[in-house]
């Protein structure tokens, strides 16, 4: 309830921003070289837009001039060698770090103009699988996953049902009361996946979701993510696993030293390619 109110307010704010933010858009248009009309159509379907985004850590350029659009219900693969900036790219989206330069819009909300109070509500749009899992070692598997629903104020009954069902999907129903340090690497990763999807997020950010998994478990997890994608969720996967890249339909972004080296679009079943 609270969230919807929040959302409406933010949308209003975004409209105001659009009225004042023409320069940014024209820059973008020049870059993509598309007509204004197409862009208008686009904007409605676009859930994430990045305009000339830079991220610097001291002298180090982690990301250089990234401009991409992600449509609603798109499957985007981000790939590249170690240290290319894959995780950094995801981090910028959920405001794990601020951008150094450029603009990011998520559902029309400009991240550089968002107030601190609204950051939590922004983050609730995302389900994130962190590369290092980020499980709380002092809480049980159940509590780790339930946390996502607790912060939005769901009832205990609902939380219990939902967490159990999601754990079953990732094959971890037996480890409900285990603590993360007592799990194997792959089991931890599966818990991290369960936590990311339990809140039915609009966007799933998956950073190496199968790095610690054998091929069988990996394909279960990939199947899960594809299932969410089929039901309308936008999915962004950062990975260096050739297997995943080969098997997954969608757009692949190849990063190297912070820049986009190539965009490789593979045919999806239903949708025509728009970028």
């Amino acid at each position: 309830m609270q969230f919807c109110g929040q959302h409406r307010k933010i949308t209003t704010k975004y409209l105001l921003f659009l009225l004042s933010g023409q320069t940014v858009f024209s820059t973008f248009n020049n870059h993509t070289g598309k007509t204004e009309g197409m862009n208008e159509h686009h904007r409605e379907n676009t859930i994430i837009r990045m305009f000339h985004v830079y991220k610097r850590y001291g002298a180090k350029n982690a990301l250089v001039d990234i401009s991409i659009d992600v449509r609603k219900n798109e499957m985007l693969l981000v790939t590249g060698p170690s240290g290319a900036g894959k995780s950094t790219l995801l981090k910028l989206l959920y405001l794990g770090e601020p951008v150094s330069e450029g603009q990011i819009l998520i559902e029309g909300i400009n991240l550089s103009r968002i107030s601190n109070k609204r950051i939590p509500f922004l983050r609730r749009k995302f389900g994130i699988i962190f590369q290092d899992y980020k499980l709380i070692p002092t809480k049980t598997v159940f509590d780790n996953i339930a946390m996502v629903l607790e912060v939005t104020g769901e009832s205990f009954r609902f939380i219990q049902k939902k967490v159990s069902s999601v754990l079953r999907t990732v094959g971890m129903e037996g480890k409900l009361n285990a603590f993360p340090p007592s799990l194997s690497g792959g089991e931890q990763q599966r818990v991290a996946v369960a936590r990311a999807v339990v809140g039915d997020p609009k966007i799933i950010l998956a950073d190496e979701p199968t790095g610690s998994l054998d091929s069988e478990s990996a394909s279960i997890i990939m199947g899960l993510l594809k299932g969410f994608h089929d039901r309308g969720t936008t999915v962004i996967i950062a990975t260096h696993d050739h297997e995943i890249i080969r098997k997954t339909k969608g757009r692949a972004l190849y990063l190297k030293e912070g820049s986009i080296q190539s965009e490789d679009v593979k045919p999806t079943k239903k949708r025509p390619i728009t970028i």
Partner: protein, 297 residues
């Protein structure tokens, strides 16, 4: 929903206090110790203040009259003394009365007075002062004024040690206030430290909570609840211990050497509530200071 959330937080806070019971025990003990010392001092001061007041009430200026004063002049003098600022009451003691009193006091050497031809004592006015004339300087000023009046042969007032005792008492009072401030600050620091350490030990957890969309309020609330609980528990423990000590002392020692002399009371209710509130506030403030450092919102 809202009240459900508060219950959820209080449950979390209590569970957390239990999980970190050693840390919390130390904090609460430290607060309790501070409170114990401050309130022991307060207790001492409040009782000593009572005694001091009764002593002060007992301070009288004795104005000795010249030998050959007539009744009319005495009446005039009485009026003059009463007119002085700070005088509450006045009582005339004739020399006959005075001798009677002296004889009664020196019962061991009564033979001394048996052979007196004539009463050698002077008439005297016993001057009582208003309660507002608290400090020693004012008493001295008043005595000097009385001494300057006609027909007054000399004045005597209080025992000199009372001046010293009042000085010491005021020093104690000052020390007490300084100590209360120090211990308040110490308690705040301790709570701040505890919260800071809890924060450190859960930094990872809180960071993760923030990443899954927890609001700052959701993250902060348990800390505030915990530190206020700490403050209250510390305060209550401190006062309880003080009460036990007080009870043991009064029931064993009082009859020995202060029966009927002092009448010891425990802390007045206002002070009691003040102390509890103070320790609660110390908890809150400690938490506030600690969290301010971490969350810049």
């Amino acid at each position: 929903m809202k009240s459900g959330l508060i219950i959820f937080f209080i449950k979390r806070a209590i569970q957390d206090i239990f999980n970190n019971r050693f840390l919390h025990a130390v904090t609460i003990t430290t607060i309790a110790l501070s409170i114990l010392i401050v309130s022991a001092f307060g207790l001492f001061l409040s009782n000593a203040g009572d005694i001091m007041d009764s002593w002060k009430k007992g301070i009288r200026i004795m104005a000795y009259l010249d030998k050959d004063v007539e009744l009319k002049q005495i009446a005039e003098l009485e009026q003059k003394i009463l007119d002085l600022y700070g005088v509450a009451d006045i009582r005339f003691i004739s020399k006959a009365e005075a001798l009677q009193q002296l004889k009664a006091e020196m019962n061991r050497q009564t033979s001394l007075f048996e052979d007196l031809k004539e009463n050698p004592l002077p008439d005297v006015f016993e001057v009582q002062m208003m309660a507002s004339t608290q400090n020693w300087e004012k008493i001295e000023v008043l005595a000097a004024q009385i001494e300057r009046l006609p027909h007054v042969g000399g004045v005597e007032y209080g025992q000199h040690w009372l001046g010293r005792v009042i000085g010491i008492f005021n020093l104690f009072k000052f020390t007490g206030i300084v100590m209360a401030c120090i211990f308040f600050m110490a308690s705040v620091l301790i709570v701040a430290n505890t919260i800071r350490l809890l924060f450190y030990s859960r930094q990872q957890e809180l960071e993760i909570m923030r990443l899954v969309g927890a609001t700052d309020g959701f993250i902060k609330a348990p800390f505030y609840i915990e530190s206020v609980i700490q403050g209250i528990l510390g305060g209550i423990t401190g006062i309880l211990v003080l009460f036990v000590i007080f009870w043991v002392i009064t029931s064993n020692v009082e009859q020995d050497f202060s029966a009927g002399f002092f009448n010891l009371r425990f802390l007045p209710v206002g002070m009691f509530l003040g102390i509890i509130f103070g320790s609660m506030f110390a908890g809150w403030l400690g938490c506030y200071l600690s969290l301010k450092q971490f969350l810049k919102v």
